[in-house]
């Protein structure tokens, strides 16, 4: 294999892996801190993709500006969503109750959002061309939008790393994730931390939505695919383990691309899901270990 091909493979794996890792991270953070399995998560990604699409095709607003605009709207949208869940679900102390009602309510929201989006914008797939020219980089050619997508994803990961591991918000969040009972006993404002978890998760969803829309077509129902992906990767990486999600996402990217190169893509999903099954049989707590005390 030529060296440029190796470069290309690495780049491609990272491009896919970083986004997968990000998506899984957002899902994981919210679940492990609040115990809400947010079915609407995928639809937030879709919504952000649509915001980007419309801003670009109607007003010619660059998707990079949409990173901010879309996050703003999604976070705004998260507030009432959080309020409802807090009122009806999070006020319980029973984890099973939170998990079950969380799924039911967010599932309802998901159907509502998908229905609304397809009503407003139709189910037709959409896409747009932005910075779609090929650039050369160390003798390998990339599409500029993909290249920038990867860079934004990497930057966001650094930002999140800093947030989670170097700030008080991070310490509190990780405390709540690992032992919510202890955290509440230490006087942490659980409501505030839950809200922060919701906001971070929506922020990640919105950035991912913008980035994905630059390479792939969007439609109102695509969220479900990303939701499943997020769930699988988060479980493999370890629930409650943010680094686990990232690493398992990147791993997923590499396995995905390398199988496509060597064995060919026909068997890809078979192999990936077999590996997954093996991991979950031998390490049910995930590759990197679970970060939660009682899961």
């Amino acid at each position: 294999m030529e060296i440029t091909n190796i470069f290309f493979i690495i780049f491609l794996s990272l491009q896919i892996g970083l986004i997968y890792g990000l998506i899984a991270l957002g899902f994981n953070l919210l679940y492990s801190s609040t115990r809400i399995i947010n079915i609407t998560y995928g639809d937030f990604i879709t919504l952000s993709g649509y915001i980007t699409f419309w801003l670009y095709s109607l007003y010619n607003i660059s998707p990079f500006l949409s990173l901010g605009i879309s996050s703003f709207f999604l976070i705004l949208f998260t507030l009432p969503f959080f309020y409802i869940l807090e009122k009806f679900v999070l006020s319980s102390k029973n984890i099973l109750y939170i998990e079950i009602w969380g799924v039911i309510i967010t599932f309802g929201f998901s159907i509502f959002l998908q229905g609304t989006m397809s009503y407003l914008w139709s189910a037709q797939s959409r896409s747009y061309a932005y910075l779609d020219n090929v650039i050369d980089f160390f003798g390998v050619s990339f599409l500029l939008n993909k290249f920038l997508t990867t860079i934004v994803a990497a930057l966001l990961i650094f930002l999140l790393y800093f947030l989670l591991f170097k700030t008080n918000i991070g310490i509190m969040l990780r405390g709540v994730i690992q032992d919510p009972e202890l955290a509440s006993n230490l006087g942490l404002n659980m409501r505030k931390i839950f809200l922060i978890a919701f906001i971070i998760s929506s922020f990640i969803a919105s950035i991912s939505g913008v980035l994905l829309s630059m390479s792939f077509e969007i439609n109102p129902f695509m969220g479900s695919i990303y939701l499943i992906l997020a769930f699988v990767i988060a479980v493999v990486g370890g629930i409650g383990n943010p680094l686990g999600s990232l690493i398992s996402g990147i791993l997923f990217g590499f396995v995905d691309v390398i199988i496509s190169y060597t064995i060919g893509p026909s068997l890809k999903f078979f192999i990936i899901y077999s590996l997954l099954l093996l991991i979950l049989i031998y390490r049910p707590w995930g590759l990197m270990g679970r970060g939660v005390r009682y899961a």
Binding site: N168, I171, Q178, L182, N185, L186, G187, N189, M190
Partner: protein, 240 residues
């Protein structure tokens, strides 16, 4: 200061607490003893809001706190340790303390400053940046105490801190507890099976004894441990 009135709590068929009434006075150390499963930890859980009592009331400085959330109770100044230590395993020693000081200060810098003062005071500044998973049993206990101290509590609930420690370690912890009483003016409510430590090392002011969720004795340490009911309840368990 802390008043517990007619508290009952059951789990299915088990009566973990049965109409318990007691009170703690300002700046005293009260021991809580009783055989395994007598409801001591349950009482702590009820006080700090982790469990809701089936009936009864709890007052703190005259204010009812019975149905407040754990975070609110904590912020009123009631802080606890856990049976067998409970730390955030993913964090370092200092972070484990900062997490408790953050709600008091709301600023990372101040929270860290406060946390540092506490670990300096307890002489564990050397292990400040160590992940808690790497600590010994004794160090974990000290970190948990440090975390409790850092909350600047008015009332401290300590759940079995001496178990599994050497004489010298027990001595150190006893000194810290006495210091908490003297310097922090804290009221300490302390569950312990090693009654010798209570009487000889810390010299508690009072002892309360529970059995099967019922309060069976209360008073001066010497009185309680010679109480017939207590000896019966403890038969074969104590090492007085």
């Amino acid at each position: 200061m802390l008043e517990i009135r007619n508290i009952s709590k059951h789990f299915g068929g088990i009566k973990a607490l049965d109409n318990v009434t007691l009170s703690l006075n300002q700046n005293e150390i009260v021991g809580l003893i009783g055989p395994n499963g007598s409801g001591k930890t349950t009482l702590f859980n009820v006080i700090c809001g982790l469990l809701k009592p089936d009936k009864g009331h709890i007052f703190f400085n005259g204010k009812e706190i019975t149905n407040l959330s754990p975070e609110k109770i904590s912020r009123l100044g009631i802080s606890r340790t856990f049976q067998g230590t409970r730390l955030v395993e993913d964090l370092t020693v200092i972070e484990n303390i900062i997490i408790a000081t953050l709600p008091l200060t709301n600023s990372y810098d101040k929270a860290e400053e406060l946390a540092r003062t506490v670990i300096n005071k307890l002489g564990i500044e050397k292990i400040g940046e160590v992940k808690v998973t790497a600590l010994t049993h004794y160090e974990r206990k000290i970190v948990e105490l440090a975390r409790t101290i850092a909350c600047k509590p008015k009332v401290v609930l300590i759940d079995e801190i001496m178990a599994g420690l050497s004489e010298e370690e027990q001595q150190n912890i006893a000194e810290i507890m006495v210091w908490m009483k003297k310097e922090m003016n804290a009221t300490i409510f302390w569950i312990e099976h090693i009654i010798r430590a209570m009487i000889k090392l810390v010299k508690v002011d009072r002892i309360i004894a529970l059995e099967s969720g019922k309060l069976i004795a209360e008073g001066k340490p010497e009185e309680v441990i010679t109480n017939k009911n207590v000896i019966e309840a403890y038969l074969g368990i104590t090492n007085v």
